[in-house]
Amino acid sequence: MIQWNLASFFVWLFSLQVLLLDQDDPKTNPFRHLKTLILAVLTLIASFSTQIEIALSAIGVITLLHSLSARFLWPAAILSFGAAFLHWRQFENLAFLASYFIILYRAGIWPFHKNVIQLTIRAPEAQVRQLATLLPLVYIHLRYLDHLPMATWIAPWAILAGAFLTFLSALATLGAKSLNGFFSNATLTHAGMLMMAVAASGQGHHGAALFAAITMSLSLGGLATMVRGVQERLGSGPFSEMGGIASTFPKLTIGFLFFGAAGVALPGTAGFIADDLLLHALWSGSVLGTILTILASGILAIATWMTCTKTFFGKPRIWKSIAIFEDLDFRDRILAFSIAFTLILLGFAPSILMGPANQILN
């Protein structure tokens, strides 16, 4: 039976995904709307199907479509079909492991981080797309596969491993020498958090895991839009070639600051709730993991502010003649506003998602 309040939330999330998915340049991809429509329909099928095999197969097709622009995704697509097959043959533990592996692989957990780094640097919008369609997979995993004894058994180990990877990725954001470097490492930090959240759901924190995944997708989606905005205007050089653009592009600066802060637990946004839930969920799995995650979140916050100061602030760069470029265009502003609105709505009233999510997932 469909839970209508959750369904309505998914429809809202789905429209946001359409906005996130529809980021191709119309000149380079004339069929972008068709591609977006196909992806969106498949996402709906994956989210609302009550047959796990159909849902996993839909995810497989989505991943296959993504693999056209990101070749590293084809093993994940095949594995999705494999997971569906395994579940059909009632090898539930193997299906659970396959599904968890796909989440980690697509999120960019070490040792698969190189693929995600390459994608975030080469085409941030493609990374946003593949993150947006990772949400239904997380939902399916939490709903159908994460109730097995194996999930409880691997939870403490996965939390600890995830915490170390999160901490190391957060440290790498601190040492990043370019905006791309920062964004790719921030993506990996969130991937580590997702790994922990999904693992912690094995101990009964399903709602928290879904909330963390949605927040990650939204805040990184917003951040990617801003990173793409900077790249279109200034190119993707090191920090030494950046700076001083805040007065020329104030909206881009505000957007970057907001989404960066939302990703590191800005109060009043879903990021704060997600971090809070995650920490409480992690404690029962690993105290050390909790401490490392708090440290990682703190380091990422510092790195976000440092990146902002190096990219947007400082002496104005007149020699770049940046004044010929416009600030965020209307479409990007609407996209950023919609994502920001959702983050704030979930930050002030998290129960609109958590209530039905807990009902269904637990």
């Binding site: 969920a281 510092i302 100061t309």
Partner: protein, 421 residues
Amino acid sequence: MTYTPLLVWTAILAPILSSQIFGTWVFLAPRTPSEKVVSTFSLIGLGLSAISNTILALGLSKNHLPLDLNFGPWLESGTYRILLLIRVDELSAAFAFLAAILTWMIAHFSRTYLHKDSGYIRYFYLLGLFASGAQLVAYAGTLDLMFAGWETIGIASTLFIGFFHERQEPLRSSIRALVTYRICDLGFLLGTVATHEWLGTTEISALKGVQTLPILQGSIISALFLLSAAGKCALFPFSGWLARAMEGPTPSSALFYGGISIHVGLFLLLRAWPDLDVYPSIKILGIALGFLTSFYATSVANVLSDTKGKLAHATLAQVGLIFAEIAAGWTTLAIIHLMSHAFLRVWQYLRAPNILHDVHRTGAKTNQMRSLLREKFAKLDLFLYSMSLHRWRVDEIFDILLSPLIRFSRWISQPQSRIKL
């Protein structure tokens, strides 16, 4: 009072909502609003907060306090739930009133002080953000809610320090402040999670249960909150960021480092300390930290030549004393000290730009007794002077401690920059 919930929510939400209105306007509309529109919206929001707090403070009956307003669970996940719990008592009403009145006065003062400044809209937006954060800290009935306000204040403080973003120095100072805040937030967050796990809830009133915990667990919770408060108050050895925080606009320095932000850590202690004050070792640590900070700040304030730096350290000296008072259990004295100190310092900070004029008018005075002592203890005096001049090298020690982490972060990010596209 029947209207207490409405008044409390107005006090908390009005400033941020008014800021959000013109913030959304700026982001979506092609033209930015005028200074008058921005300041009017901001003053309405802050004014509503101040009025609500005044009515609340005047209408509260001591017989009905403390008043816990429970609005049900804010969120639930598994066994974990955060209650939307507001606590109204003499302490929260006094601190919220202080914060609301001072913020409104500063906003009113800033209308002309920041006239034609390129960051005018940003300034008033941040003021609204800060005001809501301060109100949330004051009225929070759970540690999670208090942390939300606590972090909001920290973010607003960081952005105010880096307000003049065309120069590098304010940006560097804001990073230093943020690093200190995040180190100390570790204490608050861990303390909150530990409280939930060991006491079963994050309600502030549940901290009474610390006395029933084994000594190790109780000491850990107390020490974590002490660390958190110490960082927010810029206590020694976390004092390095305070002098640098003066890079922001003078009215915001007055509000943050003279009035409210610097005292928020003390508020946390006033809220929690009566329940945490069960271990003599933690008590002694708190008193020692307070006195050490007071000594440090007095010595530095005596040798500094810039007015705002002097004022910052003079403030810190008093904050150290208040910290020691709370740790010693003299909470009533500490509340009176805190309130009067906040008002005095805000006034002094706002007068700081006029100091040259004042000195010319009144003339500088020398202290003959101090000169005599200096002659007698020349070596000690020289040592103290040079150490104070370098602010006891707290920044350098901080940098040395953090440098391995920074080096490691650079090393770890190197392989990624070599990844082929």
